[in-house]
Symmetry: C2
Protein backbone atom coordinates (compact mmCIF):
# COMPACT_ATOMS: atom_id res chain seq x y z
CA UNK A 1 0.00 0.00 0.00
CA UNK A 2 1.00 3.60 -0.57
CA UNK A 3 0.43 5.82 2.44
CA UNK A 4 0.55 9.60 2.58
CA UNK A 5 1.22 10.99 6.05
CA UNK A 6 0.53 14.65 6.73
CA UNK A 7 2.64 15.77 9.65
CA UNK A 8 4.92 12.85 8.82
CA UNK A 9 7.92 14.71 10.22
CA UNK A 10 6.21 15.04 13.59
CA UNK A 11 6.21 12.87 16.68
CA UNK A 12 3.57 10.29 15.78
CA UNK A 13 3.87 10.77 12.03
CA UNK A 14 7.56 9.94 11.87
CA UNK A 15 7.14 6.89 14.09
CA UNK A 16 4.32 5.75 11.79
CA UNK A 17 6.53 6.40 8.74
CA UNK A 18 9.27 4.13 10.09
CA UNK A 19 6.76 1.43 11.03
CA UNK A 20 5.10 1.39 7.60
CA UNK A 21 8.41 1.34 5.73
CA UNK A 22 9.52 -1.57 7.90
CA UNK A 23 6.39 -3.46 6.83
CA UNK A 24 7.23 -2.90 3.15
CA UNK A 25 4.78 -0.11 2.36
CA UNK A 26 5.43 3.01 0.30
CA UNK A 27 5.27 6.22 2.34
CA UNK A 28 4.97 9.82 1.23
CA UNK A 29 5.54 12.27 4.05
CA UNK A 30 3.85 15.64 3.52
CA UNK A 31 5.06 18.14 6.08
CA UNK A 32 5.52 21.89 6.29
CA UNK A 33 8.26 21.65 8.94
CA UNK A 34 6.59 24.20 11.18
CA UNK A 35 6.86 21.85 14.14
CA UNK A 36 8.25 18.77 12.36
CA UNK A 37 11.93 17.84 12.48
CA UNK A 38 14.10 16.65 9.60
CA UNK A 39 16.09 14.58 12.12
CA UNK A 40 13.02 12.40 12.68
CA UNK A 41 13.17 11.22 9.05
CA UNK A 42 16.85 10.32 8.87
CA UNK A 43 16.17 6.59 8.99
CA UNK A 44 13.20 6.79 6.63
CA UNK A 45 15.18 8.77 4.07
CA UNK A 46 17.42 5.75 3.49
CA UNK A 47 14.49 3.75 2.10
CA UNK A 48 13.69 3.68 -1.66
CA UNK A 49 10.01 3.48 -0.68
CA UNK A 50 10.14 6.87 1.02
CA UNK A 51 9.25 10.22 -0.53
CA UNK A 52 9.37 13.55 1.25
CA UNK A 53 7.21 16.45 0.06
CA UNK A 54 7.80 19.69 1.88
CA UNK A 55 4.51 21.56 1.75
CA UNK A 56 1.73 23.19 3.69
CA UNK A 57 -1.80 21.75 3.73
CA UNK A 58 -2.96 25.08 2.30
CA UNK A 59 -0.86 24.49 -0.87
CA UNK A 60 -3.59 22.81 -2.86
CA UNK A 61 -1.60 22.02 -6.00
CA UNK A 62 1.29 20.56 -4.06
CA UNK A 63 -0.99 18.44 -1.89
CA UNK A 64 -2.90 17.25 -4.98
CA UNK A 65 0.35 16.20 -6.64
CA UNK A 66 1.41 14.29 -3.54
CA UNK A 67 -1.96 12.45 -3.41
CA UNK A 68 -1.51 10.77 -6.80
CA UNK A 69 -1.58 7.00 -6.47
CA UNK A 70 -2.04 7.08 -2.70
CA UNK A 71 -4.23 4.39 -1.08
CA UNK A 72 -4.52 5.68 2.46
CA UNK A 73 -3.93 9.04 4.17
CA UNK A 74 -2.88 9.45 7.77
CA UNK A 75 -3.79 13.02 8.61
CA UNK A 76 -1.59 13.79 11.60
CA UNK A 77 -0.62 17.39 10.77
CA UNK A 78 -2.09 19.59 13.48
CA UNK A 79 -1.48 22.30 15.97
CA UNK A 80 -0.86 20.18 19.04
CA UNK A 81 -0.17 23.01 21.47
CA UNK A 82 -3.28 22.37 23.56
CA UNK A 83 -2.23 24.65 26.32
CA UNK A 84 -1.81 27.92 24.53
CA UNK A 85 -5.09 27.68 22.59
CA UNK A 86 -6.55 30.67 24.39
CA UNK A 87 -3.72 32.94 23.24
CA UNK A 88 -4.63 32.46 19.56
CA UNK A 89 -8.22 31.24 19.42
CA UNK A 90 -8.43 30.77 15.64
CA UNK A 91 -5.24 28.71 15.28
CA UNK A 92 -6.77 25.37 16.28
CA UNK A 93 -9.78 25.99 14.04
CA UNK A 94 -7.59 26.88 11.08
CA UNK A 95 -4.91 24.22 11.49
CA UNK A 96 -6.96 21.34 12.86
CA UNK A 97 -10.46 21.80 11.46
CA UNK A 98 -10.08 23.72 8.21
CA UNK A 99 -6.92 21.84 7.27
CA UNK A 100 -8.74 18.54 7.79
CA UNK A 101 -11.35 19.80 5.32
CA UNK A 102 -8.54 20.68 2.88
CA UNK A 103 -7.05 17.20 3.17
CA UNK A 104 -10.49 15.61 2.64
CA UNK A 105 -11.05 17.76 -0.45
CA UNK A 106 -7.63 16.84 -1.86
CA UNK A 107 -8.50 13.18 -1.28
CA UNK A 108 -11.85 13.63 -3.01
CA UNK A 109 -10.24 15.32 -6.02
CA UNK A 110 -7.77 12.44 -6.30
CA UNK A 111 -10.14 9.58 -5.49
CA UNK A 112 -8.34 8.58 -2.29
CA UNK A 113 -10.97 7.33 0.13
CA UNK A 114 -9.38 5.99 3.29
CA UNK A 115 -8.24 8.29 6.09
CA UNK A 116 -6.78 7.82 9.56
CA UNK A 117 -7.08 10.79 11.91
CA UNK A 118 -5.37 11.65 15.17
CA UNK A 119 -8.07 12.92 17.45
CA UNK A 120 -7.82 13.23 21.20
CA UNK A 121 -9.31 11.90 24.41
CA UNK A 122 -9.90 15.50 25.38
CA UNK A 123 -12.98 15.55 23.10
CA UNK A 124 -14.73 13.88 26.05
CA UNK A 125 -14.35 17.12 28.05
CA UNK A 126 -14.89 16.62 31.76
CA UNK A 127 -16.17 13.12 31.18
CA UNK A 128 -19.03 11.89 33.33
CA UNK A 129 -18.06 8.27 32.78
CA UNK A 130 -14.51 7.20 33.73
CA UNK A 131 -12.89 5.22 32.21
CA UNK A 132 -14.52 6.86 29.20
CA UNK A 133 -15.76 4.65 26.36
CA UNK A 134 -16.12 5.72 22.72
CA UNK A 135 -19.90 6.00 23.12
CA UNK A 136 -19.75 8.10 26.29
CA UNK A 137 -22.55 10.65 26.81
CA UNK A 138 -22.45 13.53 24.30
CA UNK A 139 -19.62 15.64 25.67
CA UNK A 140 -19.22 19.37 26.28
CA UNK A 141 -15.95 20.75 24.93
CA UNK A 142 -13.53 22.40 27.33
CA UNK A 143 -10.69 23.50 25.05
CA UNK A 144 -10.32 25.01 21.61
CA UNK A 145 -7.95 22.17 20.73
CA UNK A 146 -10.48 19.46 21.54
CA UNK A 147 -13.26 21.44 19.84
CA UNK A 148 -11.14 21.66 16.69
CA UNK A 149 -10.42 17.93 16.73
CA UNK A 150 -14.08 17.07 17.34
CA UNK A 151 -14.92 19.23 14.33
CA UNK A 152 -12.34 17.27 12.31
CA UNK A 153 -13.97 14.01 13.39
CA UNK A 154 -17.36 15.31 12.30
CA UNK A 155 -16.06 16.32 8.87
CA UNK A 156 -14.49 12.92 8.30
CA UNK A 157 -17.70 11.17 9.37
CA UNK A 158 -19.77 13.32 7.00
CA UNK A 159 -17.38 12.49 4.14
CA UNK A 160 -17.75 8.79 4.98
CA UNK A 161 -21.54 9.10 4.74
CA UNK A 162 -21.66 11.49 1.81
CA UNK A 163 -18.72 10.53 -0.39
CA UNK A 164 -18.23 6.89 0.50
CA UNK A 165 -14.99 7.48 2.40
CA UNK A 166 -13.73 5.10 5.07
CA UNK A 167 -12.59 6.79 8.26
CA UNK A 168 -10.40 5.69 11.17
CA UNK A 169 -10.57 8.07 14.09
CA UNK A 170 -8.21 7.61 17.03
CA UNK A 171 -8.84 9.34 20.32
CA UNK A 172 -5.48 9.38 22.07
CA UNK A 173 -4.45 9.91 25.61
CA UNK A 174 -1.14 11.78 25.72
CA UNK A 175 1.57 9.86 23.90
CA UNK A 176 5.13 9.47 25.20
CA UNK A 177 8.31 8.01 23.78
CA UNK A 178 10.97 8.59 21.15
CA UNK A 179 10.66 11.97 19.33
CA UNK A 180 8.30 13.32 21.99
CA UNK A 181 8.48 17.03 21.28
CA UNK A 182 6.51 18.85 23.97
CA UNK A 183 4.38 18.32 27.07
CA UNK A 184 5.11 17.66 30.69
CA UNK A 185 8.15 15.33 30.42
CA UNK A 186 9.74 17.76 27.98
CA UNK A 187 8.93 20.78 30.15
CA UNK A 188 10.14 19.19 33.38
CA UNK A 189 13.33 17.87 31.76
CA UNK A 190 14.14 21.29 30.36
CA UNK A 191 13.45 23.07 33.66
CA UNK A 192 15.49 20.53 35.63
CA UNK A 193 18.43 20.85 33.23
CA UNK A 194 18.37 24.61 33.84
CA UNK A 195 17.90 24.24 37.60
CA UNK A 196 18.08 20.74 39.13
CA UNK A 197 17.37 22.07 42.62
CA UNK A 198 13.76 23.16 42.24
CA UNK A 199 10.71 22.40 40.12
CA UNK A 200 7.51 24.43 39.89
CA UNK A 201 4.47 22.35 38.97
CA UNK A 202 1.20 23.67 37.53
CA UNK A 203 -1.74 22.39 39.57
CA UNK A 204 -1.50 20.50 42.85
CA UNK A 205 0.45 17.53 41.49
CA UNK A 206 -2.48 15.20 42.03
CA UNK A 207 -3.91 15.69 38.54
CA UNK A 208 -4.39 12.19 37.22
CA UNK A 209 -3.09 11.52 33.71
CA UNK A 210 -2.95 8.54 31.45
CA UNK A 211 -0.22 8.04 28.86
CA UNK A 212 0.55 5.61 26.07
CA UNK A 213 3.95 4.68 24.63
CA UNK A 214 4.28 5.79 21.01
CA UNK A 215 5.28 2.32 19.78
CA UNK A 216 2.16 0.88 21.39
CA UNK A 217 0.13 3.68 19.80
CA UNK A 218 1.46 2.88 16.31
CA UNK A 219 0.76 -0.84 16.79
CA UNK A 220 -2.77 -0.03 17.92
CA UNK A 221 -3.47 2.10 14.85
CA UNK A 222 -2.15 -0.56 12.49
CA UNK A 223 -4.19 -3.22 14.29
CA UNK A 224 -7.35 -1.18 13.69
CA UNK A 225 -6.76 -0.38 10.02
CA UNK A 226 -5.84 -4.01 9.32
CA UNK A 227 -8.83 -5.50 11.11
CA UNK A 228 -11.72 -3.03 10.97
CA UNK A 229 -13.83 -2.34 7.94
CA UNK A 230 -16.74 -0.23 9.13
CA UNK A 231 -17.48 3.00 7.29
CA UNK A 232 -16.46 4.93 10.41
CA UNK A 233 -14.12 3.26 12.90
CA UNK A 234 -13.58 5.10 16.18
CA UNK A 235 -11.11 3.83 18.76
CA UNK A 236 -9.80 5.10 22.06
CA UNK A 237 -6.07 4.55 22.43
CA UNK A 238 -4.67 4.39 25.92
CA UNK A 239 -3.54 2.11 28.70
CA UNK A 240 -5.43 0.58 31.58
CA UNK A 241 -3.42 2.59 34.07
CA UNK A 242 -3.03 6.17 35.08
CA UNK A 243 -0.65 8.12 37.26
CA UNK A 244 -0.56 11.40 39.10
CA UNK A 245 1.66 14.22 37.90
CA UNK A 246 3.65 13.63 41.10
CA UNK A 247 4.35 10.01 40.10
CA UNK A 248 5.69 11.15 36.79
CA UNK A 249 7.82 13.83 38.46
CA UNK A 250 9.26 11.09 40.69
CA UNK A 251 10.20 8.86 37.72
CA UNK A 252 11.70 11.77 35.77
CA UNK A 253 13.81 13.12 38.63
CA UNK A 254 15.02 9.63 39.58
CA UNK A 255 16.05 8.86 36.00
CA UNK A 256 17.79 12.23 35.71
CA UNK A 257 19.48 11.71 39.08
CA UNK A 258 18.23 15.01 40.52
CA UNK A 259 16.39 15.80 43.72
CA UNK A 260 14.60 19.15 43.34
CA UNK A 261 12.41 20.93 45.88
CA UNK A 262 8.88 20.79 44.48
CA UNK A 263 6.43 23.69 44.55
CA UNK A 264 2.90 23.87 43.19
CA UNK A 265 0.59 26.47 41.66
CA UNK A 266 -2.31 24.62 43.32
CA UNK A 267 -5.76 23.72 42.05
CA UNK A 268 -6.87 20.61 40.26
CA UNK A 269 -6.15 21.96 36.79
CA UNK A 270 -2.78 22.77 35.28
CA UNK A 271 -4.32 25.48 33.12
CA UNK A 272 -7.72 26.70 31.94
CA UNK A 273 -9.23 23.99 29.80
CA UNK A 274 -6.89 21.33 31.16
CA UNK A 275 -8.85 18.20 31.89
CA UNK A 276 -8.38 17.10 35.46
CA UNK A 277 -8.49 13.47 34.32
CA UNK A 278 -8.47 11.83 30.90
CA UNK A 279 -8.70 8.08 31.34
CA UNK A 280 -10.08 6.14 28.42
CA UNK A 281 -11.90 2.85 28.32
CA UNK A 282 -9.87 0.75 25.88
CA UNK A 283 -12.01 -2.39 25.80
CA UNK A 284 -12.81 -1.79 22.14
CA UNK A 285 -9.20 -1.77 20.90
CA UNK A 286 -8.29 -4.59 23.29
CA UNK A 287 -11.07 -6.71 21.79
CA UNK A 288 -8.96 -6.74 18.61
CA UNK A 289 -6.15 -8.48 20.50
CA UNK A 290 -3.96 -5.39 20.93
CA UNK A 291 -2.45 -4.53 24.25
CA UNK A 292 0.27 -2.09 25.26
CA UNK A 293 3.74 -3.53 25.82
CA UNK A 294 4.95 -0.73 28.05
CA UNK A 295 3.68 0.74 31.31
CA UNK A 296 3.35 4.49 31.87
CA UNK A 297 6.46 4.42 34.03
CA UNK A 298 8.44 2.69 31.28
CA UNK A 299 7.10 5.17 28.71
CA UNK A 300 8.16 8.11 30.89
CA UNK A 301 11.64 6.64 31.35
CA UNK A 302 12.02 5.96 27.61
CA UNK A 303 11.04 9.58 26.99
CA UNK A 304 13.59 10.93 29.47
CA UNK A 305 16.27 8.76 27.87
CA UNK A 306 15.34 9.94 24.40
CA UNK A 307 15.47 13.61 25.37
CA UNK A 308 18.79 13.15 27.15
CA UNK A 309 20.23 11.56 23.98
CA UNK A 310 18.76 14.35 21.83
CA UNK A 311 19.23 17.50 23.80
CA UNK A 312 19.03 19.57 20.60
CA UNK A 313 15.27 19.18 21.18
CA UNK A 314 15.30 21.34 24.30
CA UNK A 315 17.80 23.81 22.94
CA UNK A 316 15.36 25.27 20.42
CA UNK B 1 -31.53 44.11 27.35
CA UNK B 2 -29.92 44.82 24.02
CA UNK B 3 -29.84 41.80 21.71
CA UNK B 4 -27.91 41.41 18.48
CA UNK B 5 -29.34 38.79 16.14
CA UNK B 6 -27.22 37.51 13.29
CA UNK B 7 -29.47 36.18 10.58
CA UNK B 8 -32.18 38.38 12.06
CA UNK B 9 -33.87 38.72 8.68
CA UNK B 10 -34.22 34.95 8.43
CA UNK B 11 -36.98 32.61 9.48
CA UNK B 12 -36.21 32.11 13.16
CA UNK B 13 -34.24 35.35 13.53
CA UNK B 14 -37.07 37.60 12.39
CA UNK B 15 -39.59 35.80 14.60
CA UNK B 16 -37.19 36.24 17.53
CA UNK B 17 -36.75 39.91 16.62
CA UNK B 18 -40.49 40.53 16.81
CA UNK B 19 -40.80 38.60 20.08
CA UNK B 20 -37.98 40.53 21.78
CA UNK B 21 -39.27 43.92 20.61
CA UNK B 22 -42.70 43.00 21.95
CA UNK B 23 -41.12 42.32 25.34
CA UNK B 24 -39.50 45.77 25.33
CA UNK B 25 -35.95 44.81 24.46
CA UNK B 26 -33.61 46.59 22.06
CA UNK B 27 -32.78 44.52 18.98
CA UNK B 28 -30.03 44.96 16.42
CA UNK B 29 -30.49 42.71 13.41
CA UNK B 30 -27.25 41.91 11.60
CA UNK B 31 -27.97 40.25 8.28
CA UNK B 32 -26.32 39.98 4.89
CA UNK B 33 -29.61 39.35 3.05
CA UNK B 34 -28.23 36.32 1.23
CA UNK B 35 -31.20 34.23 2.33
CA UNK B 36 -32.92 36.75 4.63
CA UNK B 37 -35.92 38.80 3.52
CA UNK B 38 -36.58 42.50 4.12
CA UNK B 39 -40.29 41.71 4.20
CA UNK B 40 -39.75 39.73 7.42
CA UNK B 41 -38.67 42.92 9.21
CA UNK B 42 -41.52 45.21 8.15
CA UNK B 43 -43.18 45.07 11.56
CA UNK B 44 -39.90 45.35 13.47
CA UNK B 45 -38.83 48.38 11.46
CA UNK B 46 -41.68 50.37 12.98
CA UNK B 47 -40.13 50.08 16.45
CA UNK B 48 -37.74 52.75 17.83
CA UNK B 49 -35.90 49.90 19.60
CA UNK B 50 -34.99 48.26 16.31
CA UNK B 51 -31.76 48.73 14.37
CA UNK B 52 -30.90 47.04 11.11
CA UNK B 53 -27.28 46.55 10.08
CA UNK B 54 -26.80 45.09 6.64
CA UNK B 55 -23.53 43.21 6.78
CA UNK B 56 -21.77 39.91 6.34
CA UNK B 57 -20.24 38.05 9.30
CA UNK B 58 -16.91 38.29 7.47
CA UNK B 59 -17.02 42.12 7.68
CA UNK B 60 -15.13 42.41 10.94
CA UNK B 61 -15.30 46.19 11.36
CA UNK B 62 -19.01 46.33 10.65
CA UNK B 63 -19.75 43.46 13.01
CA UNK B 64 -17.59 45.07 15.71
CA UNK B 65 -19.48 48.34 15.38
CA UNK B 66 -22.81 46.53 15.67
CA UNK B 67 -21.65 44.72 18.85
CA UNK B 68 -21.16 47.93 20.85
CA UNK B 69 -23.36 47.95 23.93
CA UNK B 70 -24.89 44.57 23.17
CA UNK B 71 -25.75 42.26 26.11
CA UNK B 72 -26.65 39.06 24.31
CA UNK B 73 -26.05 37.66 20.82
CA UNK B 74 -28.34 35.23 19.07
CA UNK B 75 -26.20 33.69 16.36
CA UNK B 76 -28.75 32.38 13.87
CA UNK B 77 -26.99 33.27 10.60
CA UNK B 78 -26.17 30.02 8.85
CA UNK B 79 -26.33 28.04 5.70
CA UNK B 80 -29.46 26.02 6.40
CA UNK B 81 -29.58 24.15 3.11
CA UNK B 82 -28.92 20.75 4.67
CA UNK B 83 -29.75 18.86 1.57
CA UNK B 84 -27.30 20.27 -0.92
CA UNK B 85 -24.31 20.06 1.42
CA UNK B 86 -22.58 17.50 -0.77
CA UNK B 87 -22.63 19.82 -3.79
CA UNK B 88 -20.44 22.41 -2.04
CA UNK B 89 -18.66 20.64 0.81
CA UNK B 90 -16.88 23.70 2.22
CA UNK B 91 -19.95 25.95 2.42
CA UNK B 92 -21.28 24.59 5.72
CA UNK B 93 -17.81 24.72 7.24
CA UNK B 94 -17.27 28.29 6.15
CA UNK B 95 -20.73 29.68 6.92
CA UNK B 96 -21.65 27.68 10.00
CA UNK B 97 -18.37 26.86 11.72
CA UNK B 98 -15.93 29.59 10.71
CA UNK B 99 -18.58 32.28 10.94
CA UNK B 100 -19.46 31.14 14.44
CA UNK B 101 -15.79 31.63 15.32
CA UNK B 102 -15.93 35.12 13.78
CA UNK B 103 -18.98 36.01 15.86
CA UNK B 104 -17.31 34.70 19.02
CA UNK B 105 -14.19 36.76 18.28
CA UNK B 106 -16.26 39.90 17.66
CA UNK B 107 -17.99 39.27 21.00
CA UNK B 108 -14.66 38.80 22.73
CA UNK B 109 -13.27 42.03 21.27
CA UNK B 110 -16.36 43.90 22.49
CA UNK B 111 -16.77 42.17 25.84
CA UNK B 112 -20.12 40.59 24.98
CA UNK B 113 -20.28 37.24 26.75
CA UNK B 114 -23.68 35.63 26.30
CA UNK B 115 -24.58 33.74 23.14
CA UNK B 116 -27.56 31.73 21.93
CA UNK B 117 -26.92 29.35 19.04
CA UNK B 118 -29.22 27.53 16.66
CA UNK B 119 -27.86 24.01 16.41
CA UNK B 120 -29.76 21.02 15.11
CA UNK B 121 -31.13 17.68 16.18
CA UNK B 122 -29.23 16.22 13.25
CA UNK B 123 -26.02 16.39 15.32
CA UNK B 124 -27.26 13.13 16.85
CA UNK B 125 -26.73 11.40 13.49
CA UNK B 126 -28.51 8.07 13.26
CA UNK B 127 -29.30 8.15 16.96
CA UNK B 128 -29.17 4.90 18.88
CA UNK B 129 -31.54 6.23 21.53
CA UNK B 130 -34.96 7.51 20.39
CA UNK B 131 -36.38 9.84 21.60
CA UNK B 132 -32.87 11.27 21.79
CA UNK B 133 -31.83 13.14 24.95
CA UNK B 134 -29.16 15.85 25.13
CA UNK B 135 -26.69 13.40 26.71
CA UNK B 136 -27.23 10.67 24.11
CA UNK B 137 -24.25 8.46 23.28
CA UNK B 138 -21.45 10.33 21.47
CA UNK B 139 -22.86 10.57 17.95
CA UNK B 140 -21.36 9.95 14.52
CA UNK B 141 -22.09 12.75 12.05
CA UNK B 142 -23.99 11.94 8.86
CA UNK B 143 -24.13 15.31 7.10
CA UNK B 144 -21.80 18.23 6.50
CA UNK B 145 -24.50 20.53 7.87
CA UNK B 146 -24.73 18.71 11.19
CA UNK B 147 -20.94 18.40 11.36
CA UNK B 148 -20.62 22.16 10.88
CA UNK B 149 -23.19 22.86 13.60
CA UNK B 150 -21.54 20.41 16.01
CA UNK B 151 -18.28 22.24 15.38
CA UNK B 152 -20.05 25.52 16.20
CA UNK B 153 -21.32 24.03 19.46
CA UNK B 154 -17.79 22.94 20.37
CA UNK B 155 -16.36 26.40 19.71
CA UNK B 156 -19.01 28.05 21.88
CA UNK B 157 -18.38 25.55 24.69
CA UNK B 158 -14.64 26.17 24.53
CA UNK B 159 -15.22 29.94 24.72
CA UNK B 160 -17.44 29.37 27.76
CA UNK B 161 -14.65 27.45 29.46
CA UNK B 162 -11.76 29.60 28.29
CA UNK B 163 -13.13 33.13 28.13
CA UNK B 164 -15.92 32.98 30.69
CA UNK B 165 -18.70 33.15 28.11
CA UNK B 166 -22.19 31.85 28.79
CA UNK B 167 -23.62 29.68 26.03
CA UNK B 168 -27.15 28.59 25.13
CA UNK B 169 -27.19 25.85 22.52
CA UNK B 170 -30.50 24.78 21.00
CA UNK B 171 -30.79 21.55 19.07
CA UNK B 172 -33.89 21.96 16.92
CA UNK B 173 -36.06 19.55 15.08
CA UNK B 174 -37.28 21.14 11.84
CA UNK B 175 -39.22 24.32 12.53
CA UNK B 176 -42.45 25.26 10.74
CA UNK B 177 -44.66 28.33 10.73
CA UNK B 178 -44.75 31.93 9.55
CA UNK B 179 -41.78 32.96 7.35
CA UNK B 180 -40.80 29.34 6.78
CA UNK B 181 -38.53 29.68 3.78
CA UNK B 182 -37.59 26.17 2.59
CA UNK B 183 -38.03 22.49 3.35
CA UNK B 184 -40.72 19.96 2.64
CA UNK B 185 -43.87 22.08 3.09
CA UNK B 186 -42.35 24.77 0.87
CA UNK B 187 -41.23 22.24 -1.74
CA UNK B 188 -44.55 20.39 -1.82
CA UNK B 189 -46.57 23.62 -1.94
CA UNK B 190 -44.51 24.91 -4.83
CA UNK B 191 -44.75 21.65 -6.77
CA UNK B 192 -48.50 21.38 -6.17
CA UNK B 193 -49.03 24.95 -7.32
CA UNK B 194 -47.25 24.10 -10.55
CA UNK B 195 -49.05 20.75 -10.94
CA UNK B 196 -51.87 19.91 -8.50
CA UNK B 197 -52.45 16.51 -10.12
CA UNK B 198 -49.25 14.71 -9.11
CA UNK B 199 -46.57 14.84 -6.43
CA UNK B 200 -43.21 13.09 -6.46
CA UNK B 201 -41.88 12.34 -2.99
CA UNK B 202 -38.25 11.58 -2.09
CA UNK B 203 -38.03 8.39 -0.04
CA UNK B 204 -40.90 5.99 0.59
CA UNK B 205 -43.15 8.48 2.40
CA UNK B 206 -42.74 6.60 5.67
CA UNK B 207 -39.76 8.65 6.85
CA UNK B 208 -40.69 9.78 10.33
CA UNK B 209 -40.13 13.46 11.09
CA UNK B 210 -40.74 15.69 14.05
CA UNK B 211 -41.52 19.38 13.73
CA UNK B 212 -41.98 22.35 16.04
CA UNK B 213 -44.00 25.50 15.44
CA UNK B 214 -41.78 28.59 15.25
CA UNK B 215 -43.75 30.46 17.94
CA UNK B 216 -43.26 27.54 20.31
CA UNK B 217 -39.58 27.48 19.38
CA UNK B 218 -39.15 31.18 20.23
CA UNK B 219 -40.96 30.72 23.56
CA UNK B 220 -38.76 27.77 24.39
CA UNK B 221 -35.57 29.72 23.70
CA UNK B 222 -36.72 32.64 25.83
CA UNK B 223 -37.74 30.27 28.63
CA UNK B 224 -34.22 28.82 28.67
CA UNK B 225 -32.32 32.11 28.62
CA UNK B 226 -34.56 33.53 31.33
CA UNK B 227 -34.32 30.53 33.63
CA UNK B 228 -30.96 28.81 33.07
CA UNK B 229 -27.66 30.08 34.28
CA UNK B 230 -25.18 27.30 33.71
CA UNK B 231 -21.98 28.12 31.87
CA UNK B 232 -23.17 25.93 28.98
CA UNK B 233 -26.90 25.31 28.58
CA UNK B 234 -27.89 22.73 25.98
CA UNK B 235 -31.54 22.08 25.16
CA UNK B 236 -33.37 19.95 22.64
CA UNK B 237 -36.32 21.77 21.13
CA UNK B 238 -39.12 19.67 19.69
CA UNK B 239 -42.51 18.21 20.36
CA UNK B 240 -43.56 14.91 21.86
CA UNK B 241 -45.03 13.80 18.58
CA UNK B 242 -43.86 12.86 15.15
CA UNK B 243 -45.44 12.19 11.81
CA UNK B 244 -44.63 10.42 8.59
CA UNK B 245 -43.94 12.39 5.43
CA UNK B 246 -47.21 10.91 4.13
CA UNK B 247 -49.18 12.44 7.04
CA UNK B 248 -47.74 15.84 6.24
CA UNK B 249 -48.53 15.39 2.54
CA UNK B 250 -52.13 14.60 3.53
CA UNK B 251 -52.46 17.77 5.64
CA UNK B 252 -50.89 19.94 2.95
CA UNK B 253 -52.98 18.63 0.06
CA UNK B 254 -56.19 18.83 2.11
CA UNK B 255 -55.48 22.45 3.12
CA UNK B 256 -54.62 23.34 -0.46
CA UNK B 257 -57.74 21.53 -1.71
CA UNK B 258 -55.82 19.36 -4.16
CA UNK B 259 -55.79 15.61 -4.69
CA UNK B 260 -52.58 14.64 -6.48
CA UNK B 261 -51.44 11.18 -7.49
CA UNK B 262 -48.46 10.38 -5.26
CA UNK B 263 -45.27 8.71 -6.47
CA UNK B 264 -42.14 7.85 -4.51
CA UNK B 265 -38.40 7.60 -5.15
CA UNK B 266 -38.35 4.78 -2.54
CA UNK B 267 -35.92 3.97 0.24
CA UNK B 268 -35.99 5.11 3.84
CA UNK B 269 -33.94 8.27 3.22
CA UNK B 270 -34.96 11.34 1.23
CA UNK B 271 -31.34 12.00 0.27
CA UNK B 272 -27.82 10.94 1.25
CA UNK B 273 -27.22 12.13 4.79
CA UNK B 274 -30.93 12.56 5.49
CA UNK B 275 -31.72 11.16 8.88
CA UNK B 276 -34.44 8.56 8.71
CA UNK B 277 -35.79 9.78 12.04
CA UNK B 278 -34.98 12.78 14.24
CA UNK B 279 -37.13 12.63 17.33
CA UNK B 280 -35.82 14.46 20.35
CA UNK B 281 -36.37 13.83 24.02
CA UNK B 282 -37.64 17.18 25.33
CA UNK B 283 -37.90 16.34 29.04
CA UNK B 284 -35.20 18.87 29.84
CA UNK B 285 -36.94 21.88 28.32
CA UNK B 286 -40.34 20.66 29.62
CA UNK B 287 -38.91 20.57 33.14
CA UNK B 288 -38.71 24.37 32.89
CA UNK B 289 -42.48 24.54 32.46
CA UNK B 290 -42.45 25.09 28.69
CA UNK B 291 -44.65 23.07 26.39
CA UNK B 292 -45.62 23.54 22.75
CA UNK B 293 -48.99 25.15 22.09
CA UNK B 294 -49.39 23.71 18.60
CA UNK B 295 -49.37 20.18 17.21
CA UNK B 296 -47.38 19.20 14.13
CA UNK B 297 -50.58 19.14 12.09
CA UNK B 298 -51.45 22.68 13.22
CA UNK B 299 -47.92 23.84 12.46
CA UNK B 300 -48.09 22.35 8.95
CA UNK B 301 -51.43 24.05 8.31
CA UNK B 302 -50.18 27.41 9.61
CA UNK B 303 -47.21 27.05 7.26
CA UNK B 304 -49.41 26.28 4.25
CA UNK B 305 -51.59 29.29 5.10
CA UNK B 306 -48.57 31.55 5.44
CA UNK B 307 -47.12 30.50 2.10
CA UNK B 308 -50.49 30.89 0.38
CA UNK B 309 -50.72 34.46 1.74
CA UNK B 310 -47.11 35.15 0.71
CA UNK B 311 -46.68 33.50 -2.63
CA UNK B 312 -43.77 35.84 -3.47
CA UNK B 313 -41.80 33.32 -1.40
CA UNK B 314 -42.22 30.56 -3.96
CA UNK B 315 -41.83 32.85 -6.95
CA UNK B 316 -38.13 33.45 -6.32
Amino acid sequence: MHFLITGGAGFIGSNMTDALLKKGHKVTVYDGFITGHRQYLEEAAKSPDFTLVEGMIEEEDKLDAAMKGVDFVFHFAANADVRRGLEHPLKDLEQNTNNTARVLEAMRRNDVKRIGFSSTGSVYGEAEVIPTPEDAPFPVQTSLYAASKLAGEGLIEAYCEGYDFQGYIFRFVSILGERYPHGHVYDFYKKLKADPTSLYILGDGHQKKSYLYVGDCINAILTVINNCNEKVNIYNLGTDEYCEVNDSVGWITKRMGVDPTLSYSGGNKGWIGDNPFIYLDTKKIRSLGWKPEYTIEEAVIKTVDYISENEWLIEE
